[in-house]
């Protein structure tokens, strides 16, 4: 791929990513922490909508023969799970995840930009220093490699995608059923009042 594409494409991908995070209000402490308290399911709705859309979009491009080599993350149960636990604790403490730190910094939040950014960099250095001692222990156990559910089950990918879509839409219906039965419909989320800015 040519050099300008290699520079411009990730900047544009990031630009749209940061924009979506900001429009969904994810660069806010209470948004993130309240999903763990079952008080605000914005994060869950956002995440699942993105997953279903991307699952369909990527599969269509693959079927049409337009997709590049789509990267598949590695499944190694001990690492995926333990890493997730540590990640979740950090998220609930700070109201951050690495992506929303960038979005918060863009909104002008100094607690994201400075301790958030420095914390992420420090964490990356600590992880790098411990890598050789820690990762051989975690990455070997129950390692399935770079697989998808349809690889593991030997079924057509669309089958898994449709099943996942149905589960997601069912979840959305369950979340919104009160609202759907009332006067307002899907998508009419009242804007959350933010404190007026100085």
């Amino acid at each position: 791929m040519s050099a300008p594409v290699d520079t411009v494409a990730p900047l544009l991908v990031g630009f749209a990513f940061g924009g979506c995070l900001q429009k969904a209000g994810l660069a806010r402490y209470e948004r993130i922490v309240n999903v763990f308290r079952f008080r605000d399911l914005t994060v869950l709705k956002f995440l699942l909508s993105a997953l279903v859309t991307a699952a369909i979009g990527i599969r269509i491009l693959q079927v049409l023969g337009l997709a590049a080599n789509v990267p598949i993350p590695t499944t190694y149960i001990a690492g995926n799970l333990l890493g997730g636990l540590v990640f979740g604790v950090g998220m609930a403490l700070s109201g951050f995840c690495p992506g929303t730190v960038a979005a918060g910094a863009g909104e002008g939040r100094l607690d994201y930009l400075i301790p958030g950014g420095v914390g992420l960099l420090t964490g990356a250095v600590i992880y790098g220093l411990a890598y050789e001692q820690v990762m051989p222990l975690l990455s070997g156990w129950r390692r399935a490699g770079n697989v998808t559910f349809s690889d593991l089950m030997h079924v057509e990918p669309w089958l898994v995608i449709v099943l996942f879509m149905e589960l997601t839409l069912g979840t959305f219906y369950w979340i919104e059923r009160g609202r759907l039965m009332g006067a307002s419909g899907l998508g009419t989320h009242e804007p959350v009042a933010t404190r007026p800015l100085e």
Partner: protein, 171 residues
């Protein structure tokens, strides 16, 4: 400014938007969406001098201004523009709401916990093989078990921590 850029989006709409971004990033460019990865690619600038013999920075992760680092730069700019257009940009040192009710008005406490929390997410993301963006979203989009095991862990760590922090409030 169009009305749609002045107001927050429904999470469903913003999520579909993110899904399209992930589709382009994964299927057209062959890159997972980056969150934690960028910091791994910057960590070598500090880590290499600290541990010159480390095979981590020699063979496992690149060091430099990579695709992931440019995504990070782009996402700061994207959030900045979106916030400006919505009138939500403002230099702040503390969360707008809720934090003070639980932790008090101390900026030092907020910044310390922000540091510790973000440090834990980066280490956890390293162990898990990705973060919310690069594993939960990008891996979930190809329906990889890794993504769903990670999300199980994420909620498994986040829920008890949040309940502990908010134990004095009614559930």
């Amino acid at each position: 400014v169009p009305l749609s850029l002045r107001h927050p989006w429904s999470p469903y709409v913003a999520g579909i938007g993110l899904g399209l971004v992930v589709t382009v990033s994964m299927a057209i460019f062959g890159h997972r969406l980056s969150g934690a990865g960028a910091y791994q690619h910057l960590s070598g600038f500090v880590g290499r001098p600290l541990a010159p013999g480390s095979m981590y920075w020699r063979t496992v992760v690149p060091t430099g201004v990579t695709w992931d680092v440019l995504v990070l730069v782009g996402s700061i700019l994207g959030a900045f523009v979106a916030a400006r257009l919505a009138g939500e940009y403002g230099v702040r040192t503390m969360p707008d709401r809720q934090w003070v009710d639980v932790f008090g008005p101390s900026i030092a406490r907020r910044w310390l916990l922000a540091f510790v929390g973000s440090l834990l997410t980066e280490i956890g993301g390293g162990i898990a093989g990705g973060c919310t963006a690069s594993l939960a979203v990008s891996g979930g989009a190809v329906l990889a078990p890794a993504a769903f095991i990670f999300m199980l862990g994420m909620f498994g760590g986040g829920i008890p921590t949040a309940l502990l922090i908010y134990r004095k409030e009614a559930p």
